[in-house]
Amino acid sequence: MFRTFRIARWVLPRRIGLLGCRFQSTLEFKELHPSLLKKAHQSVQEIVQLDQALSKGDGFDAETQKTYSRVSSIRSMYEEYQELLDNLKGLQEMIQTDPSLKDDAKSEFDNSLPQFRQVSNNLLRKLLPPHPFAEKACILELRPGVGGTEAMIFTQDLLNMYIGYAQYHHWKYHVIAQNENQSGNGLVDAILSIDEPGAYDKLKYESGVHRVQRIPATETKGRTHTSTAAVIVLPQIVESVKDAEQSERSFRPDEIRIDVMRAGGKGGQHVNTTDSAVRITHFPSGIVVAMQDERSQHKNKAKAFAVLRARLAERERKEKENSERAARKDQVTTTDRSDKIRTYNYPQNRITDHRCNFTLYDIEGVTSGVKLDEVIDSMAARDFEERSKSLIE
């Protein structure tokens, strides 16, 4: 992965890991893997070509514009990286050959090292292929798992956590649908839309089964229960009601069936029902979306189509990812495996994310959404590490 410069230690101890920054000798620093540098170099060449096209007067379309801004930021980072690297190498040379300048060189070396590390990390981050939905707003679907009423209460807690998280970041959000259980203390299901572009990128690691361990409010004998709730994170594909109508058009009539949930009878002026529930069945995928929260059937339909679109897009992405992984034939564990991802242990005031083995002792902080970022960031770091590994393979 990294070559340790000068001092021959080709095999990194495992605990240092990919981005581990443990330096035994102050003269050590890590260069990026040659294959990564080759990629950066390619970007630089790409930009030269684009520049030539531009000077010939060819207009840029939106797509080229995007790649241009991407590769040009890679280029500037790559140049900065090279410059810092040369500088460090020079200083190292100086320290070893010229005893008179050793102290000065040493302090300068120490000063520029953190900057080098940051630049090299940023460069690596840029080189990773961008997530297809990274810019999207997102939709969270929550459902109770095992544990009866306690699971429903936990689903409500999770919904509050994500709402708190959105509020903490001053992001716009709205609850698309929310069905309470009969006794009114928990949720049978809920759909939350967070309308901030890029919210998907942050929250995508939340997909999976969340487990809670606590003494439920419904427990009379004081025993600790374990219950679960499932969270699904979807990219928001349809942004407005207008889009939703167009999205309805984009399905073939034989692909979908729209049911309005109404008893028979003559309808029209004969009755004045307030039941506005809509159910959409998408035959090719077997996805069924039902929506009843709005007073207008029309709005329910638009919402249902937005959710259907989101589910289809996420499914498509997963399939693509799986086939790519199968093509590489690697057995890398993925970050979005569908089993238990996180435990909320109330008696111990502990939250553990099982994918990255990250533990935080602040239930209150996380479930209010304020400290959720800490968990998400550690997950993002691990995902970053894995993705860069797959880039080199």
Partner: protein, 303 residues
């Protein structure tokens, strides 16, 4: 009205003390809970919520209690004395406006729309909102309450004030000042002999009979008078008989049979809901031909 099972009442009472009041109108716990949520969202304090539930117990329509009903992207004010917009109407108007927009794009030539029996004005106003400023709306109704509400709704949804004509479509002869592009109408279509049996108690008790009871008279005024002033029409219907009446009226008329196409449309629950027609030569033919199923095509018009 069928009774509500005591078991259900007990269950509703457990969820909230006001919920049993909503059961006679809603029939199920889920729907009652849903309505209760809407009432609580719209009304500021518990006192008014309780009042609303008591009214609902008397089967007063929710739209009259809350004073509004969403219709497409519009928010339509509803008041006793004027028919409440139905979801079936919303459905056909939405589909119609999308078809018109899809085939014509934003309007640049004038597009006069006449909405007969306008009531709250929902049909015409939603078309106006969607088709843009190119269309000019004329709303016709016999009651002043309806026309007043129509203006209020236009204002509330930031739409241009429609031209109003207070008249009885059936008895007075109106000659439009210019050719109508689209004629819409949601006439009363429940035959008097079916009113007692087929209409739900809430509608029977609280909505105006003037807007409900009628049969073929409006369809007859369409094929005899109005059709000569317009390029296309869309009328809501209550049953198949009314569709056939319009179709026969056109097919059996020596002049109309040469130029008019007639079709019908079902709503999502499978009931006949709309009869529509257009001149085969008109620019609207492309938009309207796929709107429903065609019943009659004039000879030589081709497919």
């Amino acid at each position: 009205m069928p009774r509500v099972a005591p078991r259900l009442l007990k269950k509703a009472l457990k969820a909230h003390s006001l919920l049993p009041l909503l059961l006679p109108a809603c029939r199920s716990i889920e729907q009652s809970a849903q309505e209760f949520r809407w009432i609580r969202n719209e009304l500021p304090n518990m006192k008014q919520v309780r009042q609303a539930c008591l009214q609902r117990f008397k089967l007063v329509p929710l739209q009259y209690i809350l004073g509004n009903q969403p219709f497409g992207e519009l928010d339509i004010v509803c008041r006793p004395g004027v028919l409440i917009p139905r979801w079936e109407t919303e459905e056909w108007v939405c589909e119609l406006s999308e078809r018109l927009l899809g085939s014509m794009g934003p309007l640049n030539s004038p597009f006069p729309i006449w909405d007969l029996c306008c009531g709250t004005g929902c049909v015409g106003l939603l078309l106006q909102r969607r088709l843009g400023p190119g269309c000019s709306l004329t709303a016709v109704d016999v009651t002043d309450a309806a026309l007043g509400l129509c203006v209020e709704n236009a204002h509330r949804n930031d739409l241009e004030r429609p031209r109003l004509i207070a008249t009885d479509v059936l008895t007075k002869k109106i000659v439009p000042d210019s050719r109508i592009s689209l004629l819409t109408c949601n006439p009363p279509y429940i035959p008097k002999n079916q009113f007692a049996a087929d209409t739900s108690p809430s509608v029977k008790r609280h909505e105006p009979q003037l807007a409900l009871i009628g049969d073929l008279e409006f369809y007859s005024s369409l094929v005899n008078t109005w059709i000569h002033h317009t390029d296309s029409f869309v009328y809501e219907v209550g049953d198949r008989r009314q569709i056939e009446y319009v179709m026969h009226g056109i097919r059996d008329d020596p002049r109309l049979q040469l130029e008019w196409c007639v079709g019908y449309r079902l709503d999502s629950s499978g009931c006949p809901r709309v009869v529509y027609g257009y001149k085969a030569e008109s620019s609207l033919a492309g938009a309207l031909s796929g709107y429903g199923d065609l019943l009659y095509i004039p000879p030589g018009a081709g497919k």
